[in-house]
Amino acid sequence: MSPEGLSKPEYQVPQEMQNQVALTTLDRLYNWSRKNSVWPMMFGLACCAIEMIAAAASRYDLARFGMEVMRPSPRQSDVMLVSGTVTKKMIPQIVRLYNQMPEPKYVIAMGACASSGGPFKEGYNVVAGVDKFIPVDVYIPGCPPTPQALLHGLMTLQKKIESQSLKEVSWYQKGPGEPIPVPVLGPDLIDMRKAALIREKSQPVTEPEEAAVAVEEAAQNGELPAKEG
């Protein structure tokens, strides 16, 4: 427990009581306990997830920040680490998972792909930035960010949590919050049920004998390489 993190400098403690008494606000106590137990959701999307795993392993050790408990359920997690390329097929599931997380919830866009689409920003199948669908709290640039850069991003998130006030946070306001609308993946233009019909229509109407003769003629005219032997 760091005294400079908890005690409030505005309140003067008498000199003789300074070793026995610490004054703080509910906001600080609440945020201090909250920021040191941010549990991430256990899912990875691409190569950034490998760096996330490295950050959680003993070399960098997320447990020092109280973040080592990767929860496989959105109901138990506080932060969603969007670690990697988000395809158009994946974004409905990500928004659904985000809606299923309990408040307070945070999103970290890790790496170029999650923040902006990165090298795939104009791709046909990649979402150009996850912030177009869910509210992102911290952006971590890098491709992929090193474990130390990820830790810096998590510390940035901790600073954000510290700065929040109980009076203003959305999850203590009256009434239930609105869920984020889940995007609908559009109908695919390819319909495999019609593929056989299309193939039937497009087949050339040539008899097998005729085709063989045509190939032979072509070989004699020198248009095709003749068979050896």
């Binding site: 070399r59 170029a112 952006y139 640039p141 890098g142 830790l151």
Partner: protein, 200 residues
């Protein structure tokens, strides 16, 4: 007792873990405080035969970055005699053309006297959230003007406002470049001197 290993295999494995746990304290007691937050300590803990805790406790201590470590590009400027900043960049636009994710925007400056384009960038933007740290810009730059930085502590709360870097954040002195990449800077300086030498 001959089947001890079979019957209590889990216990003996947990014993190994417990041994590692106590070993961290023993190693810390023997090696003392200089194991942490010192250059030699980090170097010793990086080795494969290290014992005890080898976690790099990031905000307090950092792994030494190799010279070729690269994160973002930055623009090198030479410091003039009167403290002016002479950017090496000529706004030729090669870096923005080779950039695979297309994250560089350059506006060429115009000479106010003649109205003709002058070889300086008026604006230079890099969207650091798109940059994929490939280093092609530094590789292709014919003037050694754009180089890859070592600073990775870049995370922020907003994307458009704080994560599109302009000239003010991108410009860094050549002394900084020499400090992070000494071998590269020396090699490039030698090559430039060789080129500038009059042909005999």
């Amino acid at each position: 007792m001959k089947n001890f290993g079979k019957r209590f295999g889990v216990m003996s494995s947990l014993g190994v873990t417990m041994g590692h746990f106590f070993n961290t304290y023993i190693v810390d007691l023997v090696k003392g405080k200089k194991r942490y937050r010192t250059t030699e300590g980090i170097e010793a803990r990086r080795q494969s035969d290290t014992e005890g805790i080898f976690t790099i406790q990031y905000p307090e201590e950092q792994l030494p970055l190799p010279e070729e470590f690269r994160v973002l590009p930055f623009l090198v400027y030479d410091e003039g005699e009167n403290g002016e900043k002479n950017l090496r960049c000529t706004a030729c636009g090669i870096c923005s053309k080779v950039c695979p994710p297309q994250c560089i925007w350059i506006y060429r400056a115009t000479d106010p006297a003649t109205g003709k384009p002058s070889p300086h960038p008026a604006e230079f933007h890099i969207d650091i959230d798109i940059c994929m740290n490939c280093g092609f810009c530094a590789e292709y730059c014919p003037f050694d003007a754009i180089k890859m930085d070592h600073d990775f502590e870049l995370s922020g709360y907003t994307r458009g406002e704080s994560h599109v870097f302009g000239l003010d954040t991108l410009m860094k002195p050549v002394s900084y470049y020499e400090s992070i990449r000494p071998a590269n800077a020396a090699r490039e300086a030698a090559a430039r001197a060789e080129k500038a030498k009059p042909k005999a």
